[in-house]
Amino acid sequence: MSIIDNVWISIQRRFGRQRIRKFALGSIPFIVLIGVWQANSTFGWLPPVFIPELGAVWEAAFTLQEDCPSTGAIFAMHNDCLLTNHIFSSISRVALAALIGLPLGIFFGILAGMNRTVSRFLEPIGVFANSISGIAWIPLAIVWFGVGWMTTLFIMLNTIFWLLFFNAMLGVRGVSKVYEQSVLTMGGNRWHLIFQVYLPGAMPSIIAGIRMSMGFGWRALIAAEMIGGTSGLGFMIFTSAQDFKIEEVFLGVILISLIWIATDRYLLAPLEKWTIHRWGMVWKPE
């Protein structure tokens, strides 16, 4: 057997034949897309204002950064480091909104779900608040907070809170009364109820809600930055679109989707796997 056969066999052993096949097949459309994109620039089918050149998009990343003094200035969010400024702004808003919104939403949701009469009162409010999508809150937020980072933070916080509140409330309501009654029979107090019955019982809803609300919140954040923000990735692509700088728009769009894919695949999906899948609360065939 030649070297190539040996290498191929060891690759197959390491990764698995089906996985290699899936990866190869799955990358075909990407290769085709990039090929067509490059062909468009070389043959000039569409003018470059509509579809930029591949190289131009890559260079735009560096052009946006060219006034940046040094690597340290990047982290200090120096005014001229445009691209990294926008990225850091968006991500910091996501992190802040998640930090505040997730615990608040879960807390109020469980609180609302604990008392059945209170939940019957709050459920219509939750349904209504959810149906006014985060984007529709933007003009009201601009009236209250002006154009700036507070508006964008408020929108994402709003979206995350109501979705998680609703999910947590439904999750707690879905916990069978038997568990609650058994814990009470054995002499448990309210804290035992919350931490041993409601929280674990509502966990599938809450974790699924976290994943959903981060997705919706990220999209609402980008929209809020477009309409009422002064910095951030959404702001960057919106203003670049108004200046017809399509390379920056493409760059921004690719970054937005990459950030979401990375967050979802390496943060949120593992979160779901490590908590509710591992604890056997839901069964998802892989």
Partner: protein, 282 residues
């Protein structure tokens, strides 16, 4: 990404009966007892009025319910509100229909052939994460601020949920049915028509609901960003012209429209489709 909120879709389990015949009550129409809903609304309006009366500049920050009601009557009288509302709904309907019409066949194609789905699944995932909002500036550069742009964004946003739902629906049709039909000598076309499509109908219904939900959000966002007349534009210009009552009116209308659409059209569609066609216990 937009999953179900965990609610059970379906009719209220305890219908009132009179002489053994089912009777339609207000509870069936609203899903919750009427008195419950009325109480919640009254409480909310009361709290709202109190807050609005105590803050210092109510007309700008939080107009009272009365101001919002007056603004709404004024706008209806002048024919503004029905026109905006109608425009938004027409965009939603057209965009959803195109999105569903493109998404369902695509999902079927992906579900039937495993190689095709292996090829297209990753790139569909990628484009789904580029949400309609992020693709909007690109489409604006291509087609300017026109109705076409908003429609393109709506179709883009509503395509992915339905395609993925149909894909998973076709995949979940139990193999026994496929094998049974093949044993009886069915052609590919008969398999698709008689087994796969009916078997996937519950998932198609769920996917349609998700997709129209996304489309509704996209309509509002698109109108705000592209400046086309409609509900989204109404709240955007209301903020610009400092007519906060208009903004709040628009928000309430957006919320109520979605609730009505969801609870009276989309969820019954899903529930009734599952009741008629569902093979799988949900």
């Amino acid at each position: 990404m937009g999953g179900r909120e965990g609610e059970r879709a379906g009719p209220e389990p305890n219908m009132r009966t009179r002489d053994g015949r089912k009777v339609l009550t207000a509870r069936d129409l609203l899903g919750v007892p009427v008195i419950n809903l009325v109480l919640v609304i009254v409480c909310l309006i009361a709290v709202w009025s109190v807050i609005s009366a105590t803050i210092e500049n109510p007309d700008r920050y939080l107009p009272s319910p009365l101001a919002v009601a007056i603004s709404s009557i004024d706008m209806i009288e002048k024919g503004v509100l029905p026109s905006y509302f109608g425009d938004t709904l027409i965009r939603l309907v057209i965009g959803s229909i195109i999105g569903l019409a493109v998404g369902i066949p695509f999902g079927l194609l992906l579900g039937i052939n495993r190689t095709v789905s292996d090829i297209f699944y990753p790139i569909m995932n990628f484009f789904q994460s580029v949400s309609g909002i992020a693709i909007f500036p690109i489409i604006v550069i291509w087609w300017g601020n026109s109705d076409q742009t908003v429609l393109a964004v709506i179709v883009y946003t509503s395509f992915f949920p339905i395609a993925f739902s149909v894909l998973s629906g076709v995949r979940e049709v139990p193999m026994q049915y496929l094998n049974a039909v093949r044993t009886m000598g069915a052609s590919r076309y008969r398999i698709i028509r008689d087994v796969l499509i009916p078997g996937a109908l519950p998932h198609i219904a769920t996917g349609a609901r998700l997709s129209i939900g996304f489309a509704w959000r996209a309509v509002i966002a698109g109108e705000m960003l592209a400046g086309r007349e409609g509900l989204g534009w109404m709240i955007f210009t209301g903020q610009d012209a400092d007519l906060t009552a208009q903004v709040i009116l628009g928000m309430i209308m957006i919320g109520v429209t979605w609730i009505v659409l969801d609870h009276y059209l989309l969820r019954p569609f899903e529930a009734d489709t599952i009741e008629r066609w569902g093979l799988i216990q949900r």
